[in-house]
């Protein structure tokens, strides 16, 4: 697969981004997660928020190769199935020493629209940080 977890950017400003990750049965890993019950893995929701955050930082020319360094108080809610989308909203909460802190949340978008059952349901919410790459243990 390609490791692209942002399909569209809906809104972007200096410190906030709204993006969409479409979930489709054509994604191979959904066959393993889970057999007979495909849902977007929770850590892929984190990855979608991380990639959205990177796009936000790119506008400040600070983005690029920053990686996920920490997660705090992250809770999962509704599941996201093929045909649904995950709408992620990520806000920059602070920066210190090259580490960027974010607040992120994801909601379920249903093909039936806002009136469909579970539409707008919270799928994920929590805090995370991006830091520069530090390869290996040396």
């Amino acid at each position: 697969m390609r490791f692209d977890l942002v399909d569209a950017v809906l809104e972007i400003s200096a410190d906030r981004i709204v993006a969409v990750k479409q979930v489709t049965a054509a994604e191979e890993y959904l066959g393993d997660h889970f057999p007979g019950f495909p849902v977007l893995p929770g850590v892929m929701m984190i990855e979608a928020m991380v990639q959205a955050a990177r796009r936000l930082l790119e506008r400040r020319e600070a983005g690029g190769r920053l990686v996920l360094g920490g997660v705090r108080g992250l809770k999962y809610g509704g599941m996201v199935r093929p045909g649904d989308a995950l709408r992620v909203e990520v806000a920059l909460a602070g920066e210190a020493g090259g580490v960027f802190e974010f607040k992120g949340a994801g909601t379920v978008v249903k093909p039936g629209g806002a009136s469909a059952p579970d539409a707008g349901r919270n799928a994920v919410a929590g805090r995370f940080s991006l830091r520069p790459i530090r390869l290996g243990v040396g």
């Binding site: 697969m1 390609r2 490791f3 692209d4 191979e28 890993y29 959904l30 066959g31 393993d32 997660h33 889970f34 057999p35 007979g36 019950f37 893995p41 929770g42 850590v43 892929m44 984190i46 990855e47 991380v50 690029g64 190769r65 990686v67 996920l68 360094g69 920490g70 997660v71 705090r72 108080g73 992250l74 809770k75 999962y76 929590g126 790459i133 530090r134 390869l135 290996g136 243990v137 040396g138």
Partner: protein, 172 residues
Amino acid sequence: MRWMWIDRVIALEPGRRLVAVKNVSLAEEHLHDHFPADGRGAALPVMPASLIIEGMAQTAGILVGHAGRFAEKVILAKIGKAEIDRDAGPGMTLRYTATLERIDTLGASTTGVVELMDHAAPGTAFAEIGRIDMMFSHIDRNMAGTEFPEHNFVFSEGFRTLLRSSGIEAEF
């Protein structure tokens, strides 16, 4: 990509602790996107930390599932804290140690340590690079009104194969 984020279970103390390893290889497609050569420099393949968290979720999830004889569907519900201080590249091995802190009918809590070993480094010893604390839900007992398939889709053939090839006897 497939969705198996540990390669072998190397130790199991039922109801207490499970240790698993994950080899990082350039044969993994996603590493070529994370990060490719671009205006910032040459390609720099490192394992996404989101997938390191999943490695711990699978390690801890098997520990929780095993403690309940794989009767429950064990789903990641919360990440209290995850800290990953170093990055894993091709030729390195991750080792996950999950410890069961609490388990009841509704779910379980685990703490975990992530270690990294670099085959190219002198001594090739594992060193701690992170800690991940999680909560799991037994979903049939928590998501009221939501119907799930009867079969335990969480612990499927992939995990059976993993446990079998790790020499662990487990009944599903």
